[in-house]
Symmetry: C2
Subunit: 432 residues, 2 copies
């Protein structure tokens, strides 16, 4: 039931003892990084000041901008010749970020991913297909090393080429697939076009979904379509990649591995901790990393800590599914709106498919929102029903987001498809 | 000087003792594969019949067709649940092949690649950028694991996006690059466009080139352009991938690791061994593989064993650079021609660039060859000189390949560019 029984079943006091020990060690180690050394000096702080977990709050936040400012290697806490892997967000323009890893970091990262995969019931004998991009994108090598560590036959399918993915699934008898939710839905569409019944024609039983915010309704829909159990995965390249937090078989939130990370949830405006259980920005401190530990890293991801105990026996805290990015927040007519709120409403209508597009435009100096959403394949073409459906969706959206969007129902397959992350929001507003 | 001193400096008798021991073990192990079990039975052969290295010849060849016929898992010699990696040549159509690996296989593969990289002088502290495709293509994960094993900072740049590659090289201080030769040349072109002087503006010192046949002249040209030492790498997915044979710092042929492989060179028509030192088809037997050993695998690659001792102290045999594929052989007017013969001639002219295209066409029931070749950037536009140059190239080609091609000099940048393997031969002949 547990891959690392001792670490997975630590009691809360044991977790906190281990965290303090690792935090103190990490903070001392960070003094090898010119960045943290200076930042501690500026704040008249020394590693000895961290005597309890509460003392973590004395340490300033680390931000993505800090990563950019110290690009490429200024945040390393070990000499470069001790590092063996680099992941970079770099394109040809913009401000790239770099995360460095030692051999031990890669090893612990693989352990974390293996632990997640084992937790959802995967075992040697399972055939694990990874449809992430490889190379710089951490979902590729991250799941590859973790799935191999667990001892599964791992298929590095990489991103794209849906027909080839389906051929692999059927030829190799793939039992577990890692895919972003919109791509899992896309695979199902192509299966339908090709006459493949996932239940009858494949051995697929487990789906790992992550990297893209999605709702519970969307998860259940994907599970129904593909005949699988779908587990939520959370990771980010700044925290290595996949393996940070993962659902257990209870599917009731994502256990975050507190032997690797200390979790805080803060109000992104005041930077103060939010009250227990409230939504805020996730802040993570790495306490099991060698090349490039990050102290109080502001992830920009919005979530909350779920209350209560999990029946699985793990006391590692559970994160709610991500509510989007603090940067993704739409401000329309002075109201804060998260795309996930809209998605949650749309997915409650069985008449609708899972693809939608939110467009923000300026019409006569007025900012307006249009929500285009695809009808599901089964829905018939009846003008009266479409009209009343449109009204009902509009009403429910208004209740949720407090502004009235223009809702447009469009035929299935009309909205642009992508094999990568779906683009859900188009902001065409004039800026002044 | 040696990463695995004991194995790298074995004497010939020691190598052969080790090979016999490993061969016998491998053959016994192969009896776990239904394919080999049946094939041995059909040939009235049993593992006990292999008493010397010469007895290898009793074993039938394994071919790519055998891999296809047993797709996906029929050639495995271990239960599937012991395997952790799969590489497949599969597209959506055609006959794919699969190679399986256990954890131990991946480990030994990483060791072999690390040994190669160490042999050319790379060390922890070097920054190794890999421009291979990742995922199913073995050049990605193969070099990734090997370079990490050696302890270099490994940059999984993956294929394509030349400007991003160059940004990585300059930002990270990349000292060693793995690229196919035509892509290395392409990178240099983009450097020139961007005003980057590789000697002045980069720390690049070592280039690993492979996967594409190329001549000594082409290597020297790439070395001159980029200011690096370029080392030949040979691998193929059926033999794991990279790490099969590699040049040492003497640059005088590729040491093939005889603790991993037994080498034979055969005449592809008669299937008999060629006389010592003659060119023929490379046949390899894996003697250090667990999931899927291959006995006497016909690689289709043409090469020869180079005579003499290497000053580096390694007694592992040296392969000559690949002379192309036995399938790539052009038969024109009854003459056997390898594209490498043409390339070798072309690259001797400093007036010419490195891109060329061989087109075969039928004109009035006559098969003809056209060789288009790009002029180098520096060459001036003088009709008389171009004419005499064309005549001289034609004469030398005729001497080498025994037919007279039509030679066309074209301006630099005219021939189609690709970021993958260059297409060198277009066969448009009518078949009857
Ligand atoms: Zn749980
Ligand atoms: Zn040598």
């Amino acid at each position: 039931m547990y891959l690392h029984k001792e670490l997975e079943t630590l009691t809360r006091p044991e977790i906190e003892r281990l965290q303090l020990e690792r935090l103190q060690k990490t903070v001392r180690h960070c003094m090898n990084s010119p960045f943290y050394k200076q930042r501690f000096a500026e704040n008249h702080l020394s590693p000895e000041d961290i005597r309890s977990l509460d003392d973590l709050q004395k340490i300033p936040f680390t931000t993505k901008q800090d990563l950019r400012d110290t690009y490429p290697f200024g945040l390393a806490s070990v000499p470069l010749e001790k590092t063996v892997r680099l992941h970079s967000s770099s394109g040809t323009t913009g401000n790239p970020t770099v995360i460095l890893h030692t051999q031990k970091d890669l090893d612990e990262w693989a352990n974390a991913v293996a632990r997640c995969l084992y937790m959802v019931g995967l075992r040697p004998g399972d055939i694990f297909q990874n449809s992430s991009g490889y190379g710089m994108f951490t979902g590729g090598l991250g799941f590859q090393y973790g799935a191999e560590r667990l001892g599964m036959l791992t298929v590095p399918a990489a991103a794209g080429n849906t027909k080839r993915q389906l051929k692999f699934i059927s030829d190799f008898g793939t039992t577990a697939l890692h895919a972003i939710p919109s791509y899992a839905a896309r695979m199902y569409e192509v299966m339908q076009e090709m006459g493949i019944d996932p239940r009858r024609d494949t051995k697929l039983r487990t789906l790992i979904i992550g990297a893209e915010p999605h709702s519970e309704e969307q998860r259940r829909r994907i599970e129904d379509m593909l005949g699988v159990k779908a587990y939520n995965s959370f990771g980010m390249s700044e925290m290595c990649g996949p393996g940070v937090a993962f659902e257990c078989q209870e599917q009731n939130g994502l256990h975050i591995w507190e032997d690797y990370y200390i979790v805080e949830i803060i109000n992104p405006d005041t930077l103060e901790p939010v009250p227990e259980g409230e939504v805020g920005e996730l802040v993570l401190t790495t306490i099991n990393r060698e090349a490039m530990p990050l102290l109080r890293y502001r992830t920009r991801d919005l979530t909350r800590i779920l209350p209560g105990e999990c029946p699985c026996g793990r006391h590692h805290k559970r994160l709610d599914r991500m509510k989007g990015r603090s940067d993704d927040m739409i401000i329309l007519k002075g109201v804060n709106i998260f795309p996930i709120q809209i998605e949650t409403i749309l997915l409650q209508f069985k008449e609708l498919g899972s693809d939608y597009l939110i467009t923000l435009e300026t019409a006569e100096s007025n900012d307006e929102m249009t929500v285009e959403v695809e009808l599901s394949q089964l829905f018939t073409d009846d003008y009266g029903r479409l009209q009343s459906l449109t009204r009902e969706i509009t009403r429910q959206l208004k209740d949720e987001i407090l502004v009235t969007p223009r809702v447009k129902l469009v035929p299935k397959g009309t909205l642009p498809k992508s094999e990568g992350k779906a683009v859900r929001v188009k902001d065409l507003r004039k800026t002044f």
